[in-house]
Amino acid sequence: MQEIWGGFVRAIDLIITLNAQVVEITTRSLYISLSSAFLAAVICVPLGGLIEFHSFRGKKILVNLIQTLYSLPTVTVGLIVFLLISRSGPLGSLGLLFSPWGMVFGQAILVSPIMIGLTVTALAAVSPQIKDTARSLGATEIQIIVTVINEARQAVMAAVLLGFGRALSEVGVAMMIGGNIRGYTRVLTTSIALETSMGNLELSMALGMILISISLVINLLLNRVQGR
């Protein structure tokens, strides 16, 4: 118990004195996960729109499949992306492995199902009459999609935020693709894993507290976005 308390106090100290290492790792974490959330959002929100606005055979199955992938194990994505971007893999020539770019790519893939699936759900919740109204007022198909996404923007925003939260808190892709390189690909989660295994519990706790705080902020944002 004393260990936990001592660690806690030391962790607080590391945070409020803006320990350089803590700040650096936190910044990188945010930066990488925000990038992956953005990358995924730019692709997945329109993709969700395409799925929602078109009826085709197997649509239900596709949506079910996407929803199943919400809980895609991060290490599985890590492994698949590793095999893809390793020098011996099909995308090897890009040299993405062990780089922040690779992590962004991997995390974007990881959060894609959540973003696509929740976007579909969000758009499906918009009254079909919005589509009819927009069409009857002369909107093109693309303008109709934009209109519906705009109507559902809070729910779509929530989908993006959830994706960001998952990217930020996952460790599988970050570890396997980033390689936990100090000062380059080391992020909050991989640091916690490493520092814990090295017995640096105070630093681990400080980083863990930051991670929880960020999750809390994301959640507050989510509530705000959804509650309005």
């Binding site: 927009a134 009857s136 909107a139």
Partner: protein
């Protein structure tokens, strides 16, 4: 004889309702001239709204065709449909508002056409008696106000063909009267109006012709006095309940 503005031939629509397929329109033939005000009457479920949606090119027909100003819409491409749709506007029975201000709602059709004209928005709002409503949040409007904003949203586009689904059903008598006045003035501007209604008085006052729908068929078409003089139609159409 000049070419009809709207020519509907043997229009059929089958739709899925739950497990079964239902014939909603069973071969409608109808011709509408430019500048005419046509009222569609008939009991609930007779196909009025479905017919309006067909004319508004929101749904494709199961059979038959619509010729709009000389161009057949049967098998027309997305571009042609869009072009035709941009010459008309429709107001739904229970209109929905887009998220945002009244200004945003009324200017929607202008914006999707790449135009935004504050003056036209103002005059459209004035026409429906809601001047100064520009900055209001559309979500806070009352049902009657929404109905009128929806009309303004359509009027601002200066459509050649205006489709109205029960335009005064949710309105208080005073607002209803002002809407009627607007419809009347449209006729003088050579704008074609097709409106579905339950209100027989509105029919008599506004319509050049009345089309009676019953079970997906057009059972009677003619001037209001002709139609309402027909005892058989009147029996089927619950004339009495509307005080005719």
């Amino acid at each position: 004889m000049r070419m009809a503005f709207l020519e509907i031939t043997d229009l059929r629509k089958t739709a899925r309702q739950g497990q079964s397929l239902v014939d909603i329109l069973k071969g409608i033939n109808l011709t509408v001239q430019r500048g005419e005000v046509l009222a569609l009457i008939g009991p609930t479920g007779s196909g009025k709204t479905t017919l309006l949606r067909q004319i508004g090119l929101l749904d494709g027909p199961t059979g038959g065709r619509i010729i709009f100003d000389g161009v057949s819409m049967a098998g027309a491409g997305e571009r042609a449909l869009l072009q035709a749709r941009r010459r008309m506007a429709m107001v739904f029975q229970k209109p929905v508002m887009f998220r945002g201000s009244v200004q945003g709602n009324v200017s929607f059709g202008l914006k999707v056409r790449g135009r935004n004209d504050g003056e036209r928005v103002r005059s459209a709002l004035h026409a429906v008696g809601l001047s100064g409503y520009e900055e209001r949040d559309a979500a806070t409007l009352s049902g009657g106000e929404m109905q009128r904003i929806a009309l303004a949203r359509a009027l601002v586009l200066q459509p050649e063909l205006l489709l109205l689904d029960e335009p005064t059903a949710n309105l208080d008598p005073k607002s209803a009267k002002s809407i009627d006045g607007i419809i009347q003035s449209l006729a003088s501007e050579n704008i074609t109006v097709i409106m579905a209604t339950h209100n027989m008085q509105q029919c008599r006052k506004l319509a050049d012709r009345v089309a009676v729908l019953l079970g997906g068929r057009l059972v009677k078409l003619g001037r209001p006095d002709e139609v309402f003089g027909d005892r058989e139609v009147c029996d089927q159409m619950l004339c009495s309940s509307d005080g005719i």
